[in-house]
Symmetry: C2
Subunit: 414 residues, 2 copies
């Protein structure tokens, strides 16, 4: 039996114990995790310092080092997030539908944990706690596989959480870390059918595509976001300027940030000089189509590849279109079915855009940056699904459950 099969076996053994634990016990564990994290702050920071040293030695880029670094303040934030999750409603045991059939059978469809959830993710060690906490709240055993660059931090964080779990009388194996960071072991995790009920990759497009291609266990694809704003001919141009500008610059690294603005030809001359100036002032490099360049000639030329790129950085494409249909065709071709917006005061244009654009979230006169579990009022999210099955858009606690039909009778047969 391989290392990863052993983890899987332990996870399956712990699964029914966790699935049958009460809401009170699971919330008690969440508070205990927060408490242990605070108490073990020095221990965690020491482990993190080892990762930071290694990162510096290996010359890992600055932004990645920043994501890797933990501080007492960040640990306090992680602990508070665990407490916040404890206050959310329990997604398990909810009767989603039910009734009595004409033959007297009582049928209930009740939410139950999915079982064993594996996560493969990258540098930020806070994901280790976030994922464990959301899985725990929803009654799922988790198997976590973080990046090698964060291994010491992750080992420390998982040890702390397992202490809290045991203190509350649950088996420590409901939270497991893949300590062997070899790539081959990650691939084995993707193929652990019979042990892993769901695998969620979080990270860059390369990581996610590798999981989608190699996994044989069920996967929820998250995160790839080439998001668009279409500025209609009937747009409020000040609103359009603000939505296009902040949609790029407020947090360019996230999947709901804008990559491309599509501008109706009727408003291009009025909008483009102001928009490009404002973006440039915020440090954004702009790639424009030929018609954009004809109006603002000082920017770079966009290629087909520009429109197909998720920059996650201070780069943005601009294209002038002749109609809402051309804008929607562009989104259908280059989009990733994540989040797309129209800015318009034209009722029919808004309705057409809502009905036609095939994305998880479609916006009228608002920023795509709102596609987020917290902003949608779910309290917490484990990722944003861009697929159509099981969950589309922010994946919160409810989406970490499946359902079971419970049927009770007094001997009914067919």
């Amino acid at each position: 039996m391989s290392y990863i099969q052993e983890l899987g076996k332990k996870a399956q053994a712990a699964r029914p114990v966790l699935a049958m634990s009460s809401t009170l016990v699971r919330n008690k564990v969440l508070y205990a995790i927060a408490q242990e994290l605070r108490q073990a702050c020095d221990e965690i920071l020491t482990a993190n310092a080892r990762d930071m040293e290694a990162a510096a030695e290996r010359g890992i880029p600055g932004p990645m080092q920043a994501r890797l670094k933990l501080t007492a303040e960040k640990i306090e934030g992680i602990a508070r997030a665990a407490e916040d999750v404890a206050t959310l409603p329990d997604p398990v045991g909810v009767v989603r539908s039910g009734g009595t059939r004409p033959n007297g059978l009582r049928i209930r469809r009740v939410s139950v944990p999915i079982g064993v959830v594996a996560m493969i993710y990258e540098s930020r060690p806070n994901v280790t706690v976030d994922a464990a906490v959301l899985c725990l709240k929803s009654g799922n055993v988790c198997i976590l596989r973080g990046g090698s660059e964060a291994i010491h931090s992750n080992i420390a964080l998982v040890a702390v959480m397992r202490r809290a779990v045991e203190r509350c009388g649950l088996p420590a194996d409901i939270i497991q870390l893949v300590e062997d960071t070899d790539r081959e072991v990650a691939t084995q995790l993707m193929r652990l059918n019979g042990y892993v009920d769901l695998l969620i990759p979080r990270g860059n497009t390369g990581l996610i595509q590798s999981v989608v291609k190699n996994a044989t266990v069920p996967v929820i694809e998250t995160g790839a976001g080439i998001c668009h704003v279409y500025v209609d001919k009937a747009a409020d141009l000040d609103m359009a300027l603000n939505i296009a500008h902040t949609g790029k610059i407020s947090y360019p690294a996230v999947c709901n940030a804008l990559e491309t603005a599509l501008i109706h030809a009727h408003v291009a001359e009025a909008l483009l000089p102001k928009l490009t100036e404002k973006l440039a002032a915020s440090g954004v490099t702009i790639y424009g189509c030929p018609r954009t360049l004809a109006i603002v000639p000082h920017i770079a030329a966009a290629t087909d590849e520009s429109f197909a790129t998720e920059y996650n950085d201070l780069f943005m494409n601009i294209k002038v279109v002749d109609s809402i249909e051309e804008a929607m065709a562009h989104i259908a071709h280059y989009g990733t079915h994540h989040s797309d917006a129209i800015v318009t005061d034209d009722y029919k244009a808004a309705q057409l855009f809502i009905a036609t654009v095939d994305s998880a979230a479609v916006y009228v006169n608002a920023s795509t940056r709102f596609t987020d579990g917290g902003e949608f009022g779910m309290g917490a999210e484990i990722g944003i699904s861009t697929q159509k099955l099981h969950v589309r858009g922010p994946m919160g606690l409810n989406e970490l459950t499946t359902t079971k039909y419970i049927i009770e009778g007094e001997g009914q047969t067919r």
Copy 2:
């Protein structure tokens, strides 16, 4: 561009037209399909006769020929089923959740069609119409791939349905048949990413497993059912006898039929002679564990393989167990997470069974044969999912939709 890619391209072109059609139009098409089926009854029976001739020549087994054969009565039944689906509520456009956020954004999560749904299935030509009708009702374009043995019947049925679709002003390509029954073409369909949003296999375990292994498009696994009844020591034995007997014999070919009865040792001597006699009288061949054989020695011995087999026929396993825990462990090991029942008058035993058994449907004092969209009050089903994501249990019209978030504001940004 390959043959199958061309079908996929046509399906994607028809998708938005169907997705934006109204409930009224889609119901009108369903009634038109029923009408055209009745009018074309002779044309369909002539085509079916060709399939029947070929089946007889190829020496296809009797039960398979029976499933393949159409009659005027069966066609009337298929037409009525289409009309029944027209009377069901539209699953598209339902606001599943929504509200206004503190920042004024109005958020709605609305059900929308999945897009293009492919089906791979076997001999019964009525599946061709059932699947097309359910996809149409839920706004999904369908690509149907039936078995080669039913090809003439399927071509005739699809031609009739496409006539009805065109008569109502929708593109005929919302219903497409893969007329090339080569296996390689089916494999290409399983890998038609970008064109096919969901693939549903229906048929024997071999067909389903081949799809699960080979498909790169999203699949919903349906149908494999090794269903159990556990007769507890506190069971009403008359009830147990009836549930175990009818659960096997009422329709052995379906996935919700029983394959194994687990009998508590305390009631084995009282129950087994009656149960085996009743089953044998209905033509069931019984395989028993050693303890069963000690009580009813005239039956065959069960092997490990017996307990792992979905017979779909008049064969059944019986095992004596010492406790509910042993019964649940057997179900966890040999079951397919489909439907399992306990017969008991013990409250705690019922609750433990409900909470522990990890199946799509868990029964107390009722037959597993009720796991069915119609019996659950869904009106119609396209299959029974044994997986945990997206849908678990009967897959009705609602499960043929996904959702889209629609967010409206007046310029909100982050």
